[in-house]
Symmetry: C2
Subunit: 328 residues, 2 copies
């Protein structure tokens, strides 16, 4: 492993000159710089990141916290973030909480160990409110994705979930449905609550009474959607709005098992517009979130803050749209 000293020796200059030359700083004669750069290249030199962060107190690394990177929902968000990271040279360090509230431990290690310069937290649990507050106390910048916290200093990127729930329900209402079920998400997450809110709002606007038994709570997973649909089928309804696509898949399965047809017997609208939703049977009508954009935007904000180009307290709300396919 070539070091800065090796290069300095070969070039016949001091290590500090090499450092400045390689970092494109002022105060190095152009000819010297060229010589140094050439030698560095020849030696296949790469700065030792540990040594560098030790003195700069920066790691050029951003930590990304989410429930489970293997959930397809996250993949486009992550891709959007990676796009920016590649442009800016930041390294992304993922940490999956797997619903384990104790991911605070990993975070604390990341932060206190000074392994990351900033954090993006996707889809935080309501119960973690205290944790987020504690984070805000720290000096480390962070952005919340899929969450809007009232605190004006907290950076948030989210989609208007109330509007999304409204859109989905309204779509079914417009098709003439009057008895519309809702498969809700995990109620510990604000998004689940917001989508219910949108559902209620559309119902109310249409003059339809909210019916407790038509709302069954799932867990945002396919299997939960399956179970919820089985219940909803007993309660009886002609249409269902599922709080996310993964649950809609399970619901579709449950409906098929009962020998019922979609959308003729039961219409279905999901939320997220995952890649796979074009491939279900029938293809799923769903509320689209611009996930790639959301990921991109969140990292842009964080990067700007880390670079000192932005003060923080940025709030970005994306508007959802409905993607019409054949399930409703």
């Amino acid at each position: 492993m070539a070091t800065i000293k090796d290069i300095a020796r070969i070039a016949g200059v001091a290590p500090s000159v090499v450092s400045r030359a390689l970092n494109n700083k002022y105060g190095v004669k152009e000819s010297t710089r060229k010589r140094i750069v050439a030698i560095a290249k020849e030696l296949g030199y790469h700065p030792n990141s540990a040594a560098r962060s030790l003195v700069t107190r920066r790691t050029e690394t951003i930590g990304v916290v989410m429930a489970d990177i293997s959930e397809p929902y996250f993949s486009q968000i992550v891709k959007g973030m990676e796009y920016v990271a590649t442009q800016t040279g930041y390294t992304l360090l993922f940490s999956n909480s797997y619903e384990n509230v104790e991911h605070g431990r990993v975070l604390r290690k990341m932060i206190s160990g000074e392994r990351v310069d900033g954090l993006v937290i996707i889809g935080s649990n309501i119960q973690e409110k205290g944790f987020i507050a504690a984070l805000a106390e720290q000096e480390i910048p962070f952005v919340l994705v899929e969450r809007n916290l009232p605190d004006p200093k907290v950076n948030c990127v989210w989609v208007d979930n109330v509007q999304g729930g409204y859109l989905a329900t309204r779509f079914l209402l417009d098709k003439g449905h009057r008895r519309i079920g809702h498969i809700a998400g995990n109620l510990h997450f604000q998004v689940a609550l917001d989508r219910i809110e949108g559902y209620k709002r559309a119902l109310e606007e249409a003059g339809i009474a909210f019916c407790e038994e038509l709302v069954v709570s799932g867990n945002f997973l396919t299997e939960g959607g399956y179970r919820a649909m089985k219940e909803l089928l007993k309660a009886g309804c002609t249409a269902v709005f599922a709080a996310n696509d993964a649950m809609a898949y399970g619901a579709l399965q449950a409906i098929a098992e009962e020998g019922l047809a979609v959308p003729d017997d039961v219409a279905m609208v999901g939320f997220d517009d995952l890649e796979f939703s074009a491939l279900t049977h029938p293809p799923l009508t769903t509320v689209r979130q611009p996930r790639y954009e959301m990921g991109r935007r969140s990292l842009e904000i964080l990067t700007a803050i880390l670079r000192g180009e932005e003060a923080g307290g940025v709030k970005v709300c994306f508007q959802p749209e409905i993607t019409v396919r054949r399930s409703a």
Copy 2:
């Protein structure tokens, strides 16, 4: 941020003693250690990882290289790796090549910058042979997943793809099919070649001549499977073995578009057994790879090597099984 010196000052000992105490090394009186640990806890001390790696030359970080973490195929492998990483305290650093052969640049940065202690490379391209060879020259330990290289020093974890292809084709043969198409993967990948090989072997065993026009090459992606199937439909066949599930999804779509029924008009067998394959219409019969296990095993091997408990040159071949659903 509390440092080891702060603790030393408060405890009234030398920094070196604190270091030994916190790292559970010999040569610290139990009472001293307890006192030090208590102070460290009180101060919320976490070792600065940059400082530590600078002297130990270890980062406790493992780099994971793959084409695209958002492909569902990788998710279970990654989960298996994370399981081990959590147990052993290693941090995983992901790098997606996005088919960009130039991911060598990122790797070189990871390695030369001493950011990772070892690497897991999932699904490497055949063209990267030189790159792998170069890697072997380096002192950095690595494990190849989904690839078996003849070099006895290279650690490999893979599934018997020839056998998998054989199993799939044989299954269709046993159902009485005689004209079986194959949607091959990207031919730059050994797995694609191996699965074709298995397909041919089964055909030969059944005394059926291999027919060039019945093999259409996709790219391992859904859309490629769709296009390949359209071609295959023209060539005419009663069954298809797709080299992975993602392509099978596209193929299913193409078949449905032609108004044909699965498995009555065309039977379909995939490869991988992704979570989603239980949800297609009809549910997909497919060759199962133990992806979680493969991920787990690969990291166990690498960890053992890094810990010096294993010399290297480990070869682990998993056997595929067929998961029978309703598409064939």
